[in-house]
């Protein structure tokens, strides 16, 4: 038994890759001011994951994680619905990030948005 374990244990450890430490960066330049039209959205890279920047009808910005809380598809902004939509299983989130329809079980993680000069900067709050 001990020799079986001594063969299996290293193999089992080998097939699980070592954990990757995520980028410590808590902020990212998501867009340039004026890049997004009112009532539109953009996916951008935040660390190793996708995030979404939405410019609302009134010109203000909102940013969220773009990873659907259902099964991790990347969401998109629907200008016709003025909501955030996941194409994989038809999940909908409002512009507060709340899951309002379809299978998503939780809201999208929300980020802070600041304008710094010409840049739209998104900051992770937690």
């Amino acid at each position: 038994m001990a020799s079986i374990i001594s063969f299996i244990y290293p193999a089992m450890r080998y097939i699980i890759p070592p954990p990757v430490t995520e980028s410590p960066s808590r902020f990212v330049v998501a867009a340039k001011v004026g890049e997004l039209k009112n009532n539109s959205g953009k996916i951008f890279k935040f660390g190793s994951r996708a995030a979404i920047l939405v410019r609302l009808v009134d010109g203000s910005y909102r940013a969220f994680s773009a990873v659907c809380t259902h099964l991790s598809c990347t969401v998109q902004y629907r200008s016709d619905l003025r909501e955030i939509w996941c194409a994989c299983h038809n999940g909908l989130y409002d512009l507060e990030g709340r899951n309002v329809s379809g299978p998503p079980p939780r809201p999208l993680e929300r980020y802070e948005v600041h304008i710094q000069g010409e840049d739209v900067v998104v900051t992770r709050t937690a």
């Binding site: 097939i15 699980i16 890759p17 990757v20 996916i43 951008f44 890279k45 190793s48 994951r49 996708a50 979404i52 773009a66 259902h70 099964l71 991790s72 598809c73 990347t74 969401v75 998109q76 996941c86 194409a87 994989c88 299983h89 038809n90 899951n99 379809g102 299978p103 998503p104 079980p105 939780r106």
Partner: protein
């Protein structure tokens, strides 16, 4: 020619008793009844599996399993390599036809109650083979590294991640990390060309051995008719009569496959971008559509469970019942057909067809 055949057989017989194989084939018979047509589905599935192996080897000559090269290498196969489009198209169509014929084979075995004693292990090995085929489909789908396959893999592996206890481990094992990346592609390539073929070979050998050992099943209705003297048992020699009929089935399958591959070449789509939104109309391969559509209808919470987990639990329980049918359907062991299990089979087919059709709307 006949002398050469006899000499070769004698030579082989002296070394490993090949004559007994010939003897076995000469005496092996196959039952004939009005359901015999269904007996050819397993052979056609096996034939398509062989096509998969051959075209897969050809694709390996040019395919490169890295995120930077995978899509481009398939594009190169399809646009630059002579008949590359055809080889890839045959591989993709054959994969789909093979899963279709495997499903038909499974349901015909189910409704003809061929899983009953003493063929429980034949059923089990067949169902495990079907799971392996679905694994081939799932892992192969990612290999061209296009948008559809990228998101289908993301969803599929995320579902595996929701299994309680081992889910997180399973997700990292399948993806080679937390996200679907190049590491996932390399792993899926390994599963597709090494792990799954190895498992499939062992299970296939077991399945075929059991079929040879136990022979083909006679449906209970025919068995009853024979027992009551309403019918007489009929059979045909396996070699060459049944085998030649089997080969006609293979030839027909080859015709259908060639026609589909040439007239409707398999598309490549657009290259996967991990930081793009999932496109509208995204869906998995047709044989996973019923699960995909079910997940769409499930609410976020069912009692105290998350909807996706409840769905996974439901499918897991249904699969377990399906696998264990030979042991649950006890009455069939005494030659009595249970309406419940026939009804269950009709419900399963109806569920798969209706949910898949809704997903395709």
């Amino acid at each position: 020619m006949a002398t050469l055949y006899r000499k070769t057989l004698n030579w082989l017989d002296e070394r490993f008793g090949a004559g007994s194989v010939e003897e076995f084939l000469r005496h092996k018979t196959v039952p004939v009844n009005r359901h015999t047509i269904w007996s050819y589905m397993g052979g056609i599935t096996l034939f398509l599996f062989i096509i998969q192996v051959l075209t897969g080897i050809l694709l390996l000559l040019y395919y490169r399993p890295t995120p930077n090269d995978a899509f481009e290498s398939v594009q190169y196969i399809m646009t630059q390599v002579r008949f590359g489009w055809l080889i890839r198209s045959v591989h993709s169509w054959s994969a789909n036809l093979m899963i279709f014929t495997a499903f038909v084979h499974m349901f015909s075995v189910y409704f003809l109650k061929a899983y009953r004693k003493p063929r429980e292990l034949t059923w089990l090995s067949g169902i495990l083979l079907l799971f392996i085929l679905l694994g081939f489909g799932f892992s192969g789908y990612l290999l061209p590294w296009n948008t559809l396959s990228f998101f289908a893999t993301k969803v599929g592996t995320e579902m595996a991640g929701s299994v309680p206890g081992i889910g997180k481990w399973l997700l990292v094992f399948l993806r080679g990390g937390q996200e679907v990346t190049g590491a996932t592609l390399t792993r899926f390539f390994g599963f597709h060309v090494a792990v799954l073929p190895g498992l499939a070979t062992v299970l296939l050998a077991m399945h075929l051995l059991l079929v040879q050992r136990l022979g083909m099943s006679v449906p209970p209705s025919v068995e009853r008719a024979i027992a009551e003297g309403r019918a007489t048992p009929r059979s045909m020699p396996f070699f060459p009569n049944f085998l030649l009929r089997d080969m006609i089935g293979w030839y027909a399958a080859l015709g259908v496959l060639g026609g589909l591959a040439a007239i409707f070449p398999w598309e490549l789509g657009t290259k996967a971008d991990a930081f793009a939104a999932a496109p509208a109309g995204i869906r998995p391969e047709w044989y996973f559509l019923f699960m995909f559509q079910t997940l769409k209808y499930l609410p976020a919470k069912i009692l105290f469970l998350e909807g996706e987990f409840a769905g996974l639990l439901g499918f897991g329980a249904a699969a377990a019942v399906w696998v264990l049918v030979p042991f649950l359907d006890r009455r069939i062991g005494f030659g009595r057909v249970t309406r419940f299990f026939t009804g269950l089979g009709i419900f399963v087919i109806g569920f798969i067809v209706v949910l898949s059709a809704l997903a395709l709307r």
